[in-house]
């Protein structure tokens, strides 16, 4: 697939807040048809059930069965915890272990994707009772011109 940015409108800035997701489920998001998006930020709050294996948070950009880009968190999330994950541009990666569990990571720059490519979570060892409490995205959106 080749995108043609020269035919696109100038970007809109969009915010979408979502969640909670049903227990044991990952989130899956697809841009609207005939749009191209670039993430500006992604926030995920995730709570683990008090049992099972340690979880690993990761989000993916790619087709339904492809992982074109993997936003992998290098640290684990233990049982019975709520962690806040944030990805933004140009912020490096760091982790606050004190009192509250925030993890910050860097988004790739210039990675446009379009329908039907997805942004989704693929949490490692996700338990049936784990919950994604909320997830929020901000993105730049280009819309294909519509021929009337």
């Amino acid at each position: 697939m080749i995108n043609h940015p020269r035919q696109l409108t100038r970007p809109h800035y969009v915010r979408e807040a979502n969640g909670p997701v049903g227990a044991g489920a990952n989130f899956v998001w697809t841009p609207p048809i005939r749009t191209h998006v670039e993430l500006v930020s992604l926030a995920v709050t995730f709570t683990t059930f008090n049992g099972g294996a340690t979880r690993g948070m990761r989000c993916v950009i790619g087709g339904a069965a492809a992982e074109d880009f993997n936003l992998q968190v290098p640290t684990i999330q233990a049982v019975g915890q709520t962690h806040n994950y944030y990805w933004g541009r140009g912020i490096g990666s760091y982790w606050t272990t004190l009192a509250y569990d925030y993890w910050l990571g860097t988004l790739p720059k210039g990675l446009l994707f379009a329908f039907p490519t997805q942004l989704r979570s693929e949490i490692i060892s996700l338990n049936a009772l784990d919950v994604i409490d909320n997830w929020t995205i901000r993105y730049r959106l280009w819309q294909d011109p519509v021929i009337l």
Partner: protein, 148 residues
């Protein structure tokens, strides 16, 4: 919510400096109506009282009740200390422990927000006697066109 940058004028560069807040209070700053801002830098001076507890400085961008993006300092501030926190674009995380308590960290780039969204702090374990003794923001500001 969709912003339409193509309708915005060119950005203004704005600096705002604020004095001490009331004891125990967090920052809650909102852009003007019909404006969109992107932070270029943020400075916070924060003094803790004698209560023994680890504070964690957590700036947040988002609507009231939603933490769309948080960029905490990973280093705790203990009792009876005055710390200076600075955030800027493309700045790594580092800490000066030897001479004075400065911390520097990265701001996400490209993250526009607008009224009624806020820049605020959610300082973990803030005490009634703690005080933000001042903060300064520099930002780019776009103004929506006004129909006269």
């Amino acid at each position: 919510m969709i912003h339409h940058p193509r309708e915005l004028d060119r950005p203004h560069l704005v600096r705002e400096g604020f004095g001490a807040l009331g004891a125990g209070a967090d920052i809650a700053w909102t852009p003007d109506v019909r404006t969109h801002v992107e932070l270029l830098s943020l400075r916070i001076a924060f003094t803790t009282d004698a209560t023994v507890a680890n504070r964690l400085m957590v700036p947040i961008i988002g609507p009231v009740g939603n933490d769309d993006f948080a960029f905490p300092c990973p280093v705790a501030q203990i009792a009876t200390r005055s710390y200076e926190y600075y955030w800027g674009r493309d700045v790594g995380c580092f800490w000066t422990a030897n001479f004075a308590n400065y911390w520097e960290g990265p701001l996400p780039s490209g993250l526009l927000f607008s009224y009624p969204e806020q820049l605020r702090t959610g300082i973990v374990n803030i005490q009634a006697g703690d005080q933000i003794t001042g903060y300064t923001i520099r930002y780019q500001l776009w103004q929506d066109p006004v129909a006269l």
